[in-house]
């Protein structure tokens, strides 16, 4: 009975450990994929920050030595750099690594990459400033998190022509239901304009921007050059989109009466997880037109640049949300929605300002694509997110605006809520003053794969031992495995502002890595990276029934750590990084394994 309980307890402990390890691995993945840190890593020069207490002559001596040894030419960063002793030198990751390992570190406060920072405040498309509609929907905060990558938006319209400002936009195959051909190019200009609002090539230094500009467009032509199309073609296009993997369908079209064929197609797509968006119509009358008024289509009314209902927009029954559609009542075109499209007369590309609920719907479709890219998949939830994020309008007695004005930034933030992204975690820690002095995390500091190999390797070694000398898993053994193999490695990247970082490095190091932890070196110290400490631990703890397992675990952990290092980065103090270091590490790994084996054997004999 007792034994069974023990097994059960340790089962729980192991499960918790597994969950913890998964969490840590997840955290590390998040850290390493966090764009703010990971993509930060482009540099062409290296910063050398010499100690403030050095005399100019000493610095000059070091600079000359570096110049000679690495054939680089360190120079002060600017005329203001003398006081801080700040030098920069041409160099890549390899030179950076060599410099950090060299004796230079004792003369410097820092040797680091001179990262090139790119500020992405607004896209560089020259006419972005004319897109009042994008400020109206608060798009820029949404772009911090997603640009719609991986999402496909089907545009059921007059087709899409490859105008210059769609050059960088991704397409998936569509279909021309009017002429029954695969190439669904535009012969009117409407569809290309609508597609531009959704995914115009952005940050390409040309023209204007689009909302979900990393999403794929699927062109589906159902409207002829004169602007009309049949319900049958539209219904077929909806089914085509759903079957070909579209995530969002935009329908900037309407009219006619109720149609069972069309409604069935809409329900088919909806049940396949597609978000359908429709224009409310331009009759200026109460109630949205078909197909927007169907329950599973998000019906969009149009706003002008002042945020009022556009003069033409339908309203009332069926209107779900409002988005910019523009208004061209005055002489200028500044109140319209500007995108790249074609001139229907010549077929040549032009930038044109259009108005209509046709222009409002693709704003919602584009934001729906961003919400989907942010992880909300089912259409009902996407709709809820759009509704909740919308800026409500008070006293909207005639339902001009549905849930309110579309808000892309709020929608994406809401979509990400509940799904822990690293950005949230980071912000949460900072906002809550969890660690009161502000802290910073360097996601690139730990090479994750070797660490995983070490943890898994140590568990594998323990498993091998267990085959010969059965023992039960316990917390002490697991603790020992982690301590010996990797330490709490994720802590290595944690910094507290204005506080020494070495305590994090020490906690983030395994026994074998402790030798270099305090001064921040990755070179293994043979006093630590050997069988010595596991031996001392086993000798000290063997008499204790529980801590003994910590010693055995540590020994196996160190074995795994040394073995992985022997393969990946055999740098050992006094032994260099060649074959000598490799042999030293492998011999010690074997000794550690043997030690653990012997220690386990004593247990077996006692039992």
């Amino acid at each position: 009975m007792v034994v069974a309980n023990w097994g059960c307890d340790w089962g729980i402990v192991m499960r918790k450990l597994l969950v913890l390890s998964l969490f840590l691995v997840g955290l590390m993945l998040a850290l390493t994929t966090y764009p703010g840190l990971a993509t930060r890593g482009t540099f062409e020069t290296i910063v050398l920050d010499f100690r403030d207490d050095l005399a100019p002559a000493q610095i000059q001596e070091q600079v000359s030595a570096i110049a000679q040894q690495y054939s680089i030419d360190p120079r002060p960063n600017s005329i203001f750099s003398q006081q801080e002793h700040l030098y920069i030198a041409q160099g890549d990751a390899k030179i950076l690594k060599q410099l950090r390992k060299s004796g230079l570190s004792q003369y410097t406060e820092a040797i680091e990459p001179n990262y090139i920072y790119h500020a992405l405040l607004a896209p560089n498309d020259p006419d972005y400033s004319k897109q009042w509609n994008f400020r109206s929907i608060n798009i820029e905060p949404a772009w911090d998190d997603t640009k719609g990558k991986g999402i496909t938006v089907a545009v059921i319209d007059t087709g899409i022509s490859l105008v210059p400002d769609l050059k960088d936009t991704a397409f998936v195959p569509g279909y021309d239901f009017v002429n029954d051909q695969v190439d669904a190019k535009d012969d009117n200009g409407h569809g290309t304009h609508v597609a531009g609002t959704i995914a115009q090539s952005t940050n390409n230094g040309y023209g204007v921007a689009g909302i979900a500009y990393e999403a794929n467009l699927m062109p589906l032509k159902v409207l002829s050059a004169s602007g009309g199309g049949t319900i049958t073609d539209i219904a077929e296009a909806i089914r085509f989109a759903a079957d070909q993997g579209a995530d969002v369908i935009n329908m900037s079209l309407g009219g006619g009466g109720a149609s069972q064929v069309l409604e069935d197609a809409i329900n088919y797509a909806y049940n396949k997880g597609v978000v359908l968006v429709g224009a409310a119509g331009n009759e200026g009358s109460n109630s949205a037109s078909y197909p927007a008024r169907y329950p599973h289509v998000i019906s969009v009314s149009a706003l002008d640049a002042a945020g009022e209902k556009a003069f033409y927009s339908n309203f009332g029954a069926g209107v779900d949300i409002a988005a910019p559609g523009g208004s061209l009542q005055d002489e200028t075109s500044t109140g319209g929605i500007l995108q790249n499209t074609i001139d229907p007369e010549t077929g040549k590309p032009i930038f044109a300002a259009y108005q209509g609920t046709s222009m409002a719907a693709p704003h919602v479709a584009g934001v729906a694509a961003l919400v989907k890219a942010a992880g909300i998949k089912d259409p009902e939830s996407v709709f809820k997110v759009l509704q909740q994020a919308a800026r409500p309008v008070k006293d909207d007695a005639l339902n001009y605006f549905g849930a309110g004005h579309l808000d892309a930034g709020a929608a994406v933030k809401l979509a990400l809520k509940g799904q822990i992204t690293f950005r949230d975690f980071f912000q949460w820690l900072r906002d809550n003053g969890y660690l009161n002095p502000r802290f910073w995390i360097d996601g690139g500091v730990v090479a994750l794969l070797p660490k995983i190999a070490m943890v898994l390797g140590s568990y594998l070694l323990a498993w091998f031992l267990r085959v010969y000398w059965p023992f039960s898993w316990n917390g002490f053994l697991a603790g020992g495995l982690v301590t010996g193999s990797t330490g709490l490695f994720f802590l290595r990247g944690v910094y507290l502002f204005d506080a020494p970082q070495w305590p994090f490095r020490v906690m983030g190091s395994s026994i074998a890595e402790l030798g270099g932890a305090i001064q921040g070196s990755n070179v293994l110290n043979p006093l630590f990276a050997s069988v010595l400490i596991p031996f001392l631990l086993v000798a000290l703890l063997l008499g204790h029934s529980q801590w003994k397992w910590f010693a055995i675990g540590s020994s196996l952990g160190v074995a795994a750590c040394l073995a992985v290092n022997a393969v990946t980065s055999p740098q050992v103090l006094w032994l260099g990084e060649g074959m000598g270091a490799r042999i030293f590490l492998i011999v010690n790994a074997l000794l550690c394994y043997g030690l653990a084996y012997l220690a386990t054997k004593t247990e077996e004999q006692r039992v």
């Binding site: 602007g227 009309g228 006619g256 119509g281």
Partner: protein
């Protein structure tokens, strides 16, 4: 559904533009594939045609009117 409408031709600014017939009682019809002679804003016309319930358009300005016969009044 066949009907006769008297009114004025208008160019409505939706998309690259669309041809509409505004009846004397102020109702807007979208002309389906407007015949060439009717493509002139301000023209007063009398049109016989039918409402196409099976057609949708991007202009969405009202019922879609397919012209069978027309007469230019002024």
């Amino acid at each position: 559904m066949s009907l006769t409408i008297q009114g004025t031709i208008e160019r409505k600014g939706f998309g690259p533009g669309t041809w509409a017939l505004t009846s004397e009682d102020g109702k807007s019809y979208e002309l389906h594939k407007a015949p060439e002679p009717l493509r002139k804003a301000g023209l007063r016309v009398k049109v016989d045609g039918q409402i196409r319930e099976d057609v949708m358009t991007f202009a969405m300005i009202g019922p879609v009117l397919e012209v069978d016969r027309f007469e230019v009044l002024s």
